[in-house]
Symmetry: C2
Subunit: 213 residues, 2 copies
DNA sequence: GCTGTAGTTTACAGAATTGTAAACAGTAAA
DNA sequence: TTTACTGTTTACAATTCTGTAAACTACAGC
């Protein structure tokens, strides 16, 4: 292999992470091979170990980067929705859902999580809930935080499901694999959730009591 | 290894599949090792290859069995809900959601699917939609099939998400990992969906037109 | 320029995994 | 009882993968 000029550690690590991310999208973290990453990044595989200590170290670093990026994209979309006019709310909400996918990072995030890398999931979700609650309050006035939690949960789980299903479930249900139809479901969900009042979200269950157990 | 008395092929295959299922719950299909399956099933690993042809063959057989069992449990729960009195509908609906989990088969099904085994997903989903539509019609009278599709999709994706997240997302959102609190979310979702009329499920989007593209 | 630090590569070790081949041993049927 | 079939095991081959060791080299600072 042609000897490469030295770069900064950051540049090398980013190149490795980029290559690893591409591979994880295709085969999942369990299928990630250092040799494949090295080939894609144009270097010899021991160099990866030099930079990340081990295969595990690489996966942990990837989980961190992917989680942070996805969280930032999502919270940005939520913040942007704060400024949307009433007519554009469905589009803004849809954009929030869409933002969970861009660049396959959502898929990688789920993959990583499924393989045990929780990294800073708790902090990331807290940021998303906070932003979502501000958005709900800007639309409906005073609303319950417990209902925001429920909605974020529902949407998060559904988005995770969509990422995982990779379109197969939608196809099986007649929604089609094409991105247009898949996006359609997200838009429908956005409109449905926007039409739900805070009162409708309160069921007979008392979540706050349960949480204080 | 102590030589074993001969059994029927079915018994041996079931023992292997049982062992494989346990392992996949823990480490996913990618982490399944023939030696581990063999140890758990109490036999030598070449015997697995004798029965299933290859590691891939074993995974395909497991995907089939798990998908069939999960579909049967879910459709049974839906059918049972048809007979529920009005007061018991939330409980019946919750039971439908719960039934996707029993015996870890839901988790295994998602794992398998994520690893590319689609087996007979389409047929299974068709059965679930059919049963769900009957249930909706018995409750609300004439309802649109397209809305049943949407609801089944939403619930399926959310359940897939819950299976995948393994409680971590819920914990991050303050719902807790304990089964009681996790079940609570499913009950909330059941009540929410039961309160939605068919009209509320129709948004400005015309799905039927889109599907005829 | 020289020197030290660190990014990079080659070569290799050690372990683990899937799959094969052949022998072995129950079981059922002739 | 003998024979044939097949479930089962042992031993092994071939590959693949992670991680180590040591050498090589680019670049920065003295």
């Amino acid at each position: 292999m042609a000897r490469k000029t030295h770069t900064t550690p950051e540049a090398a690590q980013n190149a490795i992470l980029d290559a690893a991310e591409k591979i994880v999208v295709e085969v999942g973290p369990a299928g990630l091979r250092l040799s494949a990453v090295a080939r894609s990044a144009g270097m010899a595989h021991p160099n990866i170990i030099h930079h990340f200590g081990s295969r595990e170290g690489l996966l942990a670093a990837l989980a961190d980067r992917v989680g942070a990026r996805a969280t930032e994209r999502i919270t940005n979309a939520i913040t942007a929705a704060l400024d949307a006019k009433e007519d554009d709310r469905v589009a803004a909400m849809t954009h929030i859902f869409d933002s969970a996918y861009q660049g396959d990072e959502g898929k990688v995030a789920v993959w990583m999580h499924l393989s045990g890398a929780e990294s800073s999931l708790k902090e990331n979700m807290a940021r998303i809930v906070e932003a979502s609650h501000r958005l709900r309050q800007s639309i409906d006035g005073e609303v319950k935080l417990s209902n925001t939690n429920r909605l974020v949960m529902l949407v998060t789980l559904a988005l995770v499901g969509e990422v995982v299903s990779g379109g197969a479930i939608k196809e099986a249900l007649g929604f089609g694999r094409e991105e247009a139809k898949r996006a359609h479901f997200r838009q429908w969900l956005a409109e449905l959730l926007l039409n739900l009042s805070d009162e409708e979200l309160d069921t007979s269950l008392d979540l706050d009591t349960l949480n204080s157990l």
